[in-house]
Amino acid sequence: MPSVKTVPRVALNRRRHNVGLEFRKHKNSNGMNVFKLDNIFKWVCLGCAALTGLLLVGFFIQLIISSSEAWREFGLGFLISTEWDPVNDQYGALPSIVGTLLTTAISLLLALPLAFAAAFYLADAHPAIGEPLGHAIDLLAAIPSVIYGMWGLFVLAPLMQKYVQPFMVDTLQLHQLPFVKDEFNGFGILTAGLILAIMILPYICAILRDVFQMTPPMLRESAHGVGCTKWETAKDIVFKYGIRGILGGVFIGLGRALGETMAVLFVIGNIIDMPDSIFAGATTISATLANNFAEADGIQRSALFALGLTLLTMSFVIQVMAQHYLHATSAKRGEK
């Protein structure tokens, strides 16, 4: 660490040892230098650690400052206004917020059961099968989101248009349900939700797998020992044991889905309007930001920052929840 090397070298102090060995170093007799050095080291480390807190606060401050114009202009009504009209400089956040919430909700609904089931399988599988499969699912998380976007744009959206959506509408007659229309073009909320589901699946699955693995083998064995089946063990014992970790995992996935930009950007249709169908084109906060930022200026830019602040706040709340649950589990594990 460069900051440490600048400290003057410790004074050498030779003296005789009763066994006749020569002392190599050691500070002067009161030992002060050594402790000074230790103190500097400590404060450097603490300073670096403080950076993360400063950054977090900085995010809020900067966004608040940059968005102040929009808040002054639209007030809190910005959050419930459905209008986004660059021509008339009228901006509202509701379409983006609704799009964000809808895609997130769909992704969670799809990903959660799959992730739980997959984690259940992996925890129980023979290592020769379970490990590679587990790694494969983990790699799913490593694929850059822009790749998901491309895949969604070129592969998934056409498939949705050609097969899935017709199937849902014509065969299952789902358009009779509210919020489903028989108009579709492959893009829209459902497709974005689907992509997000695939993206957050590995995150949730990884955390659930941790929970399954973190369960002491003896606890699982004792569940089997009283005569539980594997499924009973998982749902009655492991699930309860790791419930907080599981909730934490859900929130982590939620946070991911909420903030994801690129994958959504490619397939959501980018229509800043209130969606009336899950097949409808829409937008999310981050997609709106990415899409409009380059061309925006003035009050529109400020409105975008206000959207950013909204997203930051949502994300912050969700992360706080996630940390609350994860922290509690780690504390519990710490006891053991």
Partner: protein, 285 residues
């Protein structure tokens, strides 16, 4: 006492296990599908010229990705250099100095929150603090943005890895008459060195595919990244976005797929390396 039926319990057990198998197959299938698609579409673009030529504006033939690749490497390396030393120090602080429990709790908490921060917001933040004041996009700003994303990841991994070092190891080092600093750097960090490396690589793989922050910081330029500090710098993720969303040309779509393949391959390679290192560490203990 009346016994509960065993057959029902066993049947539900089997059904659930069947469903879980399907779930895994779905997840893995999705991954394979994506990768296969990327490989099939991307392979067409892979020629020598693709790797050595810089990108060209729309319609000009023989465009490559060399400038974007180089730009991405510079930006990512810059970010790693920026983030690593303070993040390691911060991780050390979190795990080694237990005196300020409340402060440490807050810092750890904010690091965790930062890890879940949408990357697009990081882009916005850096845009405000760097791009706006200086008046231009720059690769360096992108490095800063990525460094901000990397910082909490490295910090928290460092802390976790150091926390795995048993406390008695520190005590026994101190009990031999070592100073705090020597104990921390020579003994504790040495013990956890593979874990620390894992943390850095983890952060690296996390940011190497990031796109959103780059949109607000590095932007893109069809040229070699020769003004890293002062001007827009070519990079892979933005190239992919540009070529696939904003271009009607099939050739550009093809180049986009090629770039996607390269990025995916790199990210997966870093990831696999990280895993291997971490697994070795696991065996060492």
């Amino acid at each position: 006492m009346r016994r509960r039926g065993l057959s029902f319990r066993k049947l539900s057990d089997r059904l659930v296990r069947l469903f879980s198998t399907i779930a895994v197959l779905l997840a893995v299938g999705a991954m394979l599908w994506i990768i296969i698609v990327v490989v099939i579409y991307g392979a067409k673009a892979l020629q020598w010229s693709f790797f050595v030529n810089p990108s060209k504006p729309y319609g000009i033939p023989d465009g490559g990705i060399a400038n974007a690749l180089l730009g991405s490497v510079i930006i990512t390396l810059g970010a790693t250099l920026l983030a690593t030393p303070p993040a390691l120090a911060a991780g050390i602080a979190l795990s080694e100095f237990k005196d300020y429990k409340k402060l440490m709790f807050l810092l750890r908490f904010s690091a965790n929150v930062m890890m879940g921060m949408p990357s697009v917001l990081v882009g916005l933040f850096v845009y405000i603090i760097m791009v706006v004041p200086s008046g231009n996009f720059s690769g360096f700003a992108a490095s800063v943005a990525l460094a901000i994303i990397m910082f909490p990841v490295i910090m928290r991994t460092t802390e976790d890895m150091l926390a795995m070092v048993p406390y008695t190891l520190r005590e026994s080092a101190l009990a031999l008459g070592m100073t705090r600093m020597r104990t921390t750097l020579h003994i504790v960090c040495m013990s956890a060195r593979k874990g620390l490396l894992t943390g850095i690589l983890l952060a690296l793989s996390r940011v190497s595919g990031e796109t959103a922050p780059l949109l607000f910081t590095a932007m893109f330029a069809d040229g070699w990244p020769n003004n890293y500090f002062t001007g827009p710098t070519a990079n892979m993720p933005v190239l992919i976005t540009e070529y696939t969303t904003n271009s009607p040309f099939a050739a550009m779509h093809e180049a986009g797929w090629g770039a996607a393949l390269v990025v995916t391959a790199l990210v997966l390679i870093i990831n696999v390396i990280t895993r291997i290192i971490f697994r070795e560490k696991g065996h060492g203990h």
